[in-house]
C-alpha cells in the first residue's frame, strides 16, 4: 500500500528526515516510536501533505501513485488520514457541518452520491457511539473549547466517518488519561480491516497495549535505527531509548 524510499526532508532549511525507508502493506499496523525530535511527527505530517516541510529527496508511493505529487486534499480523497497531534480549532464552523462537508467531498471524489443532512445524522449517531461522544459536541465549533481528550476523540470520530485506507495517528495518546486512551484505541481497533493499514506514531509504549502493532520502528536523528515486532516496544519501555541511540552511533 505504502512504500517510502530514502525519504529526506527539511523544515526552514533544517534537515529533519535523513533517509527513511519503510513499507506498509494492507492489513498491517506499524508503530513508529522515537524520542523527541527524532522526526516521527514530521514523517506523519509529510505523508499528509503539510506545506511547511520540503521534501529534498526520496519517494513515497501510495497504491502505485506518487503521493508527494498530490495536494493534501487529494491524498485525503484517496484515503490517507492524519489524526493530528494538536487538532486545530475552527471558530464559526460547527463540527457537524465540517464532518459532513469532508464526508461529501470524499464521496464526490469516489464518484458516490452526496448525503443529505438527515441521512448524515443517522451515520453520525452510529459513529459517535464508537468514541463515546456526546451529541452536543456536534453543534459546537470544531474543537473549540474541547478538552485535550475530547479533541483526540474528535479526531478518531473524523477517522471513523471518513473511513481511510491509510490512517496515521500522530501521538494520539499524548495528554490522554487511561479512560480516554482506551476509548481512542477502541475506536481505532474497530476500524481495522484487511484492506486498511495504520501507522501509529507514539512516544510511549502504553498505547501499544491497546493497539497491538505488527511492526515497530524506532526513529532517531531522522533515520529508522531499529525495526522489529511488538516485543521491541516492550524492550524500549523497559530500557528507554538511550541504548539504541548509543548503538546507532557506535
Amino acid at each position: 500500500m505504502l512504500q517510502i524510499q530514502d525519504l529526506r526532508a527539511t523544515v526552514a532549511d533544517k534537515e529533519i528526515l535523513r533517509g527513511i525507508t519503510l513499507t506498509v502493506n494492507a492489513g498491517e499496523v506499524h508503530a513508529v516510536m522515537g524520542p523527541n525530535g527524532s522526526g516521527k511527527s514530521t514523517l506523519a505530517q509529510i505523508l499528509a501533505g503539510h506545506p511547511a516541510y520540503e521534501v529534498t529527496g526520496g519517494s513515497v508511493t501510495y497504491e502505485g501513485e506518487d503521493l508527494l505529487a498530490m495536494d493534501a486534499e487529494v491524498r485525503a480523497q484517496a484515503g490517507v488520514f492524519l489524526a493530528f497531534q494538536y487538532p486545530i480549532e475552527i471558530p464559526g464552523v460547527s463540527n457537524a457541518y465540517f464532518l459532513r462537508a469532508a464526508y461529501n467531498e470524499i464521496r464526490r471524489a469516489r464518484g458516490e452520491e452526496e448525503v443529505d443532512p438527515m441521512s448524515f445524522a443517522d451515520l453520525m449517531d452510529e459513529k459517535m457511539k464508537l468514541v463515546e461522544m456526546d451529541g452536543a459536541m456536534l453543534t459546537r465549533s470544531v474543537n473549540m473549547g474541547f478538552s485535550g481528550g475530547e479533541k483526540k476523540r474528535n479526531e478518531i470520530l473524523q477517522m471513523a466517518v471518513l473511513e481511510p485506507k491509510l490512517a496515521i495517528l500522530d501521538e494520539t495518546d499524548s495528554g490522554l488519561d487511561i479512560d480516554a486512551l482506551r476509548i481512542v484505541a477502541g475506536g481505532v481497533n474497530a476500524l481495522k480491516r484487511a484492506d486498511r493499514a495504520t501507522i501509529v506514531v507514539t512516544h510511549y509504549q502504553r498505547l501499544l497495549n491497546y493497539i497491538v502493532p505488527d511492526f515497530v520502528h524506532v526513529l532517531a536523528g531522522g533515520r529508522i535505527v531499529r525495526s522489529g515486532g511488538p516485543e521491541l516496544a516492550l524492550e524500549l519501555e523497559a530500557k528507554g531509548y538511550d541504548w539504541l541511540l548509543e548503538e546507532a552511533i557506535a
Partner: protein
C-alpha cells in the same frame, strides 16, 4: 466648505423649521452655531485621525429639508424582515406613513415620527432630544441637530416588554442623490422595560448614487431596562454615512448592540454608552465587510461611571480589494467604577495585499480594582487551519471560503434575533462563496 450649510440652515429655519416647538428651534440654532465653529473634522482631530472626510466635505451634499421620494412597498422587500414587525419607514429622511406599520403595539408602547411626538409626547422629547448626544465635540451630531426635523420616537413604559422587534428603515432613493438626510431618533425605556430596535440604512437607487446619511439615535435606559439595538448599514456603494448611537444607562440596565456595516464609500459608525448606575452591562459587537475603495470606520466608547458593571466588545472585519477599516474602541473607567469588568476584542481578516486596517484600542482606567483586557489581531487566513481542512478532503478553495465565512459567523452568531442573524449569515455566505452550492449553511 461649510458656508453652503449655513445658507441652507437659514432657508430651513424660515421654512421647515416653523412647525417645531420653541425648544427645538433654540436647539437647532445652538447646533448650527456649534457646527460653524467646529467645521468638518480633519485628520488632525484625534477622533478622525485615520479617516479623512474631505471628499464628503468637498461634495457639498446639502441637507434635504423638503425631500421627495417614490419608494414602493415591493422596493423594500430585500430590507425587511417579514410583516409582523413594527416598522417605521423613512424615505430620504422623511417619514412615510403609507409604508409604515405601527398597529398592534402593546399598551404602554408608543412608536411615532418626531413631528407627531412634538404633539403627543411633548415632555418626553423635550426632556431627552439633544440631551444625550453631545454637539460640543461632534461636528456631525451638531449638523444633524441643526436640521432636526424628522426621525423615530420610541417610548416603552415601565415593566412593558415589546415582543416584536421595532424596525426603523431609512431608505434613500434617486431623490436623495446630491443631498443629505439627517434622521434623528429617540428611544426611551422606562424602568424594567425591554425592547429590540433594528435600524436599517439602505438604498433603492441603482448604481453609484452619491448622497449622505447623517443619523443620530439617542437612547436612555432606566433602572433594569434592556435595549437590544441592531444597526445594519447597507447604503449605496457611492454614498457617505455617519451614524451615531448614544446611550445612557441607569442601574441594572443592559444594552446589547450590534453594528453591521457593509455599504457606502465612506462610513463611520459611533456607538457610545455611559454606564451610570451599578450592575449595568453593555455588549457591543459588530462586523464590517469591506471591498474596493471603501472606508468603514467604527468608534465605540464605553464609560464606566459606577462600580460593578461589565462591558463586552467583539468587533470583526473582513477587508478585500483596497478597502480600509478603522476600529477605535475607547473604554473609560472612572475613579469610582471599582470592580469594572471589561473585555474588548477586535479581529480583522485581510483578504488582499491592498486592504488595510487601523485598529486602536484605548483603555483609560482611573480606578484601581478593575479587570479590563483588550486584544486586537490582524491577519490572513490561517495556513494551519487550511491544511487541517484539506487533510480531511476539503479542497483548497472551499476551505478558504469556509474559513472566511466562519470568521464572520463567529460574531454573527452572537445576534439573538434569528431573522437578522440568519439573514446576515446567508448574505455573508453568498458574498464569500461565489455561489458555491456545496456550502449550504449548516
Amino acid at each position: 466648505m461649510i458656508e453652503p450649510y449655513l445658507r441652507s440652515f437659514e432657508a430651513f429655519a424660515r421654512d421647515g423649521g416653523a412647525s417645531a416647538p420653541d425648544w427645538a428651534r433654540a436647539l437647532r440654532l445652538s447646533a448650527i452655531t456649534r457646527f460653524e465653529t467646529l467645521g468638518f473634522p480633519t485628520t488632525r482631530n484625534e477622533d478622525w485621525h485615520f479617516t479623512s472626510v474631505a471628499p464628503l466635505a468637498d461634495a457639498a451634499l446639502l441637507p434635504l429639508t423638503n425631500p421627495s421620494g417614490s419608494v414602493s412597498a415591493s422596493d423594500l422587500v430585500p430590507f425587511t424582515f417579514g410583516t409582523d414587525w413594527h416598522e417605521l419607514v423613512f424615505v430620504n429622511g422623511r417619514f412615510q406613513p403609507d409604508l409604515s406599520r405601527t398597529g398592534g403595539l402593546p399598551d404602554g408602547v408608543r412608536v411615532m415620527p418626531l413631528a407627531r411626538a412634538y404633539d403627543e409626547l411633548p415632555i418626553l422629547v423635550e426632556q431627552h432630544v439633544g440631551r444625550i448626544a453631545s454637539i460640543d465635540a461632534h461636528a456631525f451630531t451638531a449638523l444633524n441637530t441643526a436640521f432636526l426635523n424628522d426621525g423615530a420616537v420610541i417610548h416603552v413604559s415601565r415593566d412593558v416588554e415589546v415582543a416584536k422587534p421595532i424596525h426603523l428603515l431609512f431608505v434613500s432613493d434617486a431623490g436623495a442623490v446630491g443631498g443629505t438626510s439627517q434622521p434623528r431618533n429617540l428611544i426611551v425605556l422606562d424602568r424594567f422595560a425591554k425592547a429590540t430596535v433594528v435600524e436599517t440604512y439602505c438604498a433603492t437607487a441603482r448604481g453609484a448614487a452619491t448622497y449622505f446619511t447623517n443619523a443620530v439615535t439617542e437612547a436612555t435606559l432606566a433602572d433594569g431596562a434592556t435595549l437590544t439595538h441592531l444597526k445594519l448599514q447597507r447604503e449605496s456603494a457611492a454614498a457617505y454615512h455617519v451614524g451615531t448611537l448614544d446611550v445612557r444607562q441607569a442601574r441594572d440596565s443592559h444594552l446589547v448592540s450590534f453594528s453591521f456595516a457593509t455599504g457606502a464609500a465612506l462610513s463611520r459608525t459611533n456607538i457610545y454608552t455611559e454606564l451610570r448606575g451599578e450592575g449595568c452591562g453593555a455588549t457591543l459587537n459588530g462586523l464590517y465587510l469591506g471591498d474596493a475603495e471603501q472606508t468603514i470606520d467604527h468608534q465605540t466608547r464605553i464609560e464606566h461611571v459606577e462600580p460593578n458593571c461589565y462591558s463586552r466588545e467583539l468587533y470583526k472585519g473582513i477587508l478585500d480589494g483596497a478597502s480600509h477599516g478603522v476600529f477605535n474602541g475607547k473604554v473609560f473607567v472612572h475613579p469610582e467604577a471599582q470592580k469594572t469588568d471589561g473585555k474588548q476584542t477586535n479581529n480583522t481578516l485581510l483578504l488582499s495585499e491592498k486592504a488595510q486596517i487601523d485598529t486602536k484600542p484605548q483603555l483609560e482606567i482611573f480606578a484601581d480594582d478593575v479587570k479590563c483586557t483588550h486584544g486586537a489581531t490582524v491577519g490572513r487566513l490561517d495556513e494551519t487551519s487550511l491544511f487541517y481542512m484539506k487533510s480531511r478532503g476539503i479542497d483548497a478553495r472551499m476551505a478558504r471560503e469556509l474559513l472566511t465565512y466562519a470568521f464572520a459567523a463567529d460574531v454573527l452568531e452572537t445576534i439573538e434575533l434569528a431573522e437578522v442573524r440568519e439573514g446576515l449569515e446567508a448574505a455573508t455566505l453568498r458574498r464569500y462563496t461565489e455561489g458555491d452550492r456545496r456550502l449550504a449553511v449548516r
